[in-house]
Symmetry: D3
Subunit: 327 residues, 6 copies
């Protein structure tokens, strides 16, 4: 009975403190992340209810991921527990110019990738829900997860949910060709496509003179109700700009550009997706873009995959909050 | 027998490390702050003697604040101890664009706010002193402290001290109307008014075409010997500019503008006040502005309410110190 | 629809790392505690469902306490939010012989103590629940909370719940006389009394030749269905023993004595209460005592008010787990 | 050209600080361990040369393990680098009574377990060496590593090295039956067997009235030149005793019993093996037992798998060093 | 105008966190210590006034030591500042059985050891004071400091102060022979000798059947008014006992034996000296022994050279405080 | 048999975390640095072999420096051990505008400065090597080290090595006049001079209209085969630019300018020297400049004197790597 359901891998996230290199650090900060889990947590943070579907190993690391989801109010009753499995892990290194930030994934053979013995009753999971969200990462992880993506999108469509899909191409997980071959058939089941201009070109070979044209071409080719494209300007490793546009009903929606003094850009796209879904479900596409951008910009000025930004803070940004200290 | 006496609340200051949110952090860095205590510590740091008058709870947190004052050489012999009282606390969150920094105060029912059983022998406290400093925060905290502000200013004036008052308007503590009603009668007892342009308008309804005009109008209305206005430019959350001007004897004194890569802006105004008083007491208004600006700029590039900047470092800035590493 | 409902204050808990003194430390570890919240979290940890009823300030600290409860699966939908209120805080110092550990409370004027504008629909809250637990701390905090304790116990009794009450005498909150005067009338509404021998004597003036006699006298005087007494042996500050006995249906139940290399004894009694309620609701009084003791002993060998011990670990203790490393 | 060669997996070791639970901690301390790597590092620490043979992923975690080995002077020129592989990880939780310490292994699919594309030229590796050491863990990890154990022992025997094998039974890696079936044939190639009484019974079904008899039976059955048995007394989780005996040439060698205030028992057995090999190669079996015990006892009073104890500290223990502070 | 004056070196104290080895740690905890400075801080902590005389380098480390002294209320106006000098440093490693704790000194060429250009006007320093304390460490550091010890003791005797001397033999600083040759002449100027049985034998060749006889022999030989001997029982590295006795006016004073779960024994003797002087100056020798023992026992259960124990805590120990948590 | 040999002091490096002042911090981060050791470690990091020649005290701090060198694969077999000596230490404070970063050296009386009893068999050390590097710091430390610089340069020239010398003027170690007097005679033995424009003027009085002219004049005056000048632009304390040029065979080589978001500029020049020597020995002067600049720029965006940058990362920069996150 959650408003939004998401499906994907939850992972332990380990990062050196400050700006230490992974090869150098003697301590790691431990938290939790994962694209679809981030979206579920963000949607809940903003005030809707959400449920996250996944598989976790039955050990302290698996419980920790479950706990973190619950901390944000995410329903975890559909998580499957895997005896003896392993937890996926990723390591984040924070850079500064000219050293870019980087992520090292260690998710091979994880409980989620293998989905051993996991069955998901999608119709039951979707009962009463309004939207479903997953990403190209889940599709890329292997056959077991790709099958569930197909089954879940079909079930969500059947149950009348808004289906949302973040293309999220990861070149270490699959080739552009394989990515296109597997994802193209799924696109007919997707209402809202979230992507970057680069991913649209790599995966579907779609490019254009500008973001607007790419969005329109995507919508035209696949029949998406909404295409929303996030746009990051890398002025330097620590100084970025951020905005997003959307194309829906034949028109473009755009928004202000945020200037970011980056703390942690990992999870920025997921925060946008969460804010966009929140705005869409509580208003319209334009509200989605504006809430998505503000929620993402504030997230990128904060540490962690999860976003501790409040709805009031988002709305203060939309109302023109400045840089002065708040007392 | 201190050169400068200040009166106000000392507080425990708790801040998440790095740029963590308060809702997110599992550790807090604990230090000590408070507008008038910051000024006393800064004056002592620069080489004059100072005394801080206050009330503290008789528990480890109260002793800690006392210890910190002593660490900076501040005389604490006039502090009143309150059995069973509570220590005021404030929490600082460091932001980065577009997320502003913020402060959460938890000073309700503190030993200082209530001043239970505290009596201050102001004439004895001021014996041998040259200047007295307090702020609008102390006046705002409630009747007990407002009464002492009035009594202390009168006593200081009577004892021939230079009286200094930082307007420091805090909207969570009182309304503009109440602030004006209570403070206007006190202004006749003040020699040096320290303020921002914004506070001057909010509290006294005084505005002008520029800082200079505001300063002159304040001096004209209340008869201050000196009005000094601090001027912060919020280029971004982490990049500010800083300067101050003063109006005295019918003339404006100004100074270079400092470019700040902010570490911790909390306490920046107090550092200016301390540097200004130091400069004023060891020279003149112009020296006050220059020492105040340098002391404040260096403080804002350092962590903590208290300012570990040395007089030699201040003077190196005044002499044109650059950005190169000092070996 | 939770199995167990609890009512009481949640607090931010701040503790110096290692064995630093509060007056000495420059960092604090921040977590969450509170007697009844600890019990709710423990019951949920062991596998039943639980709900915690309270009032929290609408600020980051209040949200943090709410998050922590949710992390443990505790239902927080009955928490009342207080705009502008303050969060109760307590500070823990860990000792070693001959320096005892200590706790400094800073809960004056907290949102929970004042319960401003809070109303609790007890019959609705108790719908479907099996047991209700609160403590003498909540009764001691002031009239607003004492009134709710009385109302809630009556409602729980009316709804057919098992009512559980931990005497938990705190001498800084009230005198023995006041404690007796206010609590004696409540005892008629209590099914399960949890106490120490010392508290039974201080509050009710009941003593005896041994624990067994005290338990029997308490049951006889007030008509409790169960009296359970926890027994701590303070061999040194860091080396304790722990056990508990119960009296029910005219008979005494006892259990093995645990040898504790203490990490953190704060919350040990609450862990016992949680384990006891779990055992009672899933079995009988004897199971309650055994699960309570094991859950408490393992908690005291771990840090934090909340208890990360799993049911499997409790049952391994009951099955005779030793001191060897588990690989 | 190292004195001692070892073969086995190196792992990243992650441990919560202080006594936090893994499910609870927000930071992890990162270091390096692995039975045979520990032995190589210990032998080098005491003054002989050593070489560690293994496979590591070509990423920052793999380089970190290599760096740590080099930090202790261990030759890593025979390490094979695996592009795209993953690093084995283990997590250590430190307990206190009644909560035992525990280790969670996450080594599935690691570069070492799979040994993809790794070939080892054992005769070249052993050129000039005096002893070779590996353990039952390496044999247990899978067919690729078990094959290398067999090949390496044969090559070492052929090259005239002393062969040393620590039985190190791990029940999560294999069953007693499988363990016996695979290891029994290897025993003919082993000169020095290191074991505990428990492992001797689990793996080979050999028990006796005391340690001495077990050692003699092992030597008789398999023809070992030396059998050395380590003996830990678990008085509590944090208070242990430690000693070891050896059987060689028909006689028993024993040593004093060490009283341990445990800091970190993980790696204690490996420290014994390193000290034993050092003592054996620079003296005889009796020297091996005494150096092994002292090196292990001092390691267990220190943190980390690797042992920062110096030879001088070992010899001070052998000379009767007491508990007084050393200035 | 302080009650107690002390003279000696202040040092930066660096210690690995937890129980890490110095060769192993990547962080150090930085604080301040030094025998005579510890005594001055302890005396002030208990409620008398104190002054510490020394020489410090004019750099951030020197200022830090000065700040720390001031934090405890110690008068530092007689400290001499040395341009270009270096700060003495010592490193502490905390052990556990069988690994003893250890201290590594790095004080060569420090500002205090060399006392370059430092002159001390002892009569002025002692004006109004009641007692003077220094130790054999200061005498051992070299000719410049030994000369000041002689001069200061003579001046203190001349000014009618109680002179106190802690023998504190350090074998790395000088030989027994040299120690005796230089210190014997000073003893005629000493009223209160503080020592251990071991040091009395090493330095003066005085031994006896028990502590009592040693104290009496010392008093007889040198004419001390009081001899007080501290007695530590090293049950293990982390478990000690502590007491002290005194001999004065022909009689022995003794006290209870404290059982210590050691946190940090460094500075334990200095805490005794501070408590003893406090007790002596506010009462008599017996009070000195009892306050000294309690102040020292509580210090050794706390971290740091300086002692954050309060007078109230000392008196609670004297009144029989137990191991229970203080709420 | 290392490719590159360096000679100089290794030091313990202590730095406050984040941006704390040294006078303020309660913890220090401990690592290892020293100009010539940094170069040896960098050369090894990039793939050549290196050896570092020095003297270290035989204590845990000395071993730690040795360990760190070994961790990077640097050969330490020519290090001389000094019983009873002291380790040089330096303290780093990280600034932000307008507060510059600073370094406080504490190397007086260190084992390396005094070189007590140290003899170096330079011909043996240089056997098989291709290049030798030292710096003006080593020459400045005193007569013992200056003599070894002269002897080693002569021996290196005699053995046919490329000799490299970084002028590295330190005004706290000697005057310009003394610096010139001692270093001028050495220049005839140097093939590669590394310097800044400022140092060239201070030491040799050589200036020019631009970097190119300075380089050419230096080469002309002293007959260097290569002069390479590093060029830092201090836009602010945290924002710098970096590049270097070289003059060789009558021609200038230059390279792109790097934009730096500084993490730690200490060691930036040494990283350039290491990268330059690597490029020179594996290619030519132009390759030296490009590898030096990239290796230095990436180092300055990382913490620590040692550079964890990999050869692959350097080559990615040379290939145009951008600011996007690497996944």
């Amino acid at each position: 009975m959650s408003d939004v359901v998401t499906f994907g891998e939850g992972m332990i996230r380990l990062a050196p403190p400050s700006n230490r290199r992974l090869e150098q650090t003697t301590t790691l900060e431990m938290t939790v992340g994962g694209a679809e889990l981030n979206v579920a947590s963000g949607v809940s943070r903003l005030g809707l209810t959400s449920s996250w579907v996944s598989s976790l190993p039955a050990n302290p690391l698996g419980r920790r991921v479950r706990n973190r989801a619950r901390e944000f109010g995410v329903d975890t009753s559909h998580v499957v527990w895997d005896e003896g499995g392993r937890m996926g892990i990723f390591f984040v290194e924070y850079g500064s110019s000219p050293r870019a930030s980087s992520v090292l994934y260690d998710r091979a053979a994880s409980s989620f990738c293998e989905l051993r013995g996991a069955t998901f009753d999608w119709p039951a999971i979707f009962a009463g829900a309004r939207a479903y969200h997953t990403t190209g990462i889940t599709t890329a992880l292997g056959e077991p997860t790709a099958e569930q993506v197909a089954a879940s999108l079909a079930a969500a469509r059947g149950a009348g949910l808004v289906t949302s899909y973040d293309l999220n191409y990861r070149k270490k997980l699959w080739s552009p060709d394989k990515s296109r071959a597997i994802q193209e058939p799924l696109m007919a089941l997707v209402d809202v496509l979230i992507t970057t201009e680069e991913d649209a070109e790599v995966v579907f070979g779609i490019s254009g003179t500008d973001y607007r044209e790419v969005a329109r071409k995507l919508a035209d080719r696949f029949g998406f109700k909404v295409v929303t494209i996030t746009i990051r300007g890398d002025l330097s490793v620590l100084h970025n700009t951020w905005t997003a546009i959307a194309y829906a009903d034949g028109a473009i929606v755009d928004d202000r550009v945020y200037d970011l003094e980056l703390v942690d850009r990992v999870g920025g796209g997921d925060a946008y997706a969460a804010g966009f879904l929140y705005g869409l479900l509580t208003g319209d596409v334009s509200r989605g873009v504006r809430y998505g951008n503000a929620f993402s910009a504030l997230k990128q000025a904060s540490w962690d995959d999860f976003n501790f930004t409040t709805l009031a803070e988002v709305e203060a940004q939309l109302g023109g909050a400045g840089s002065r200290i708040v007392r």
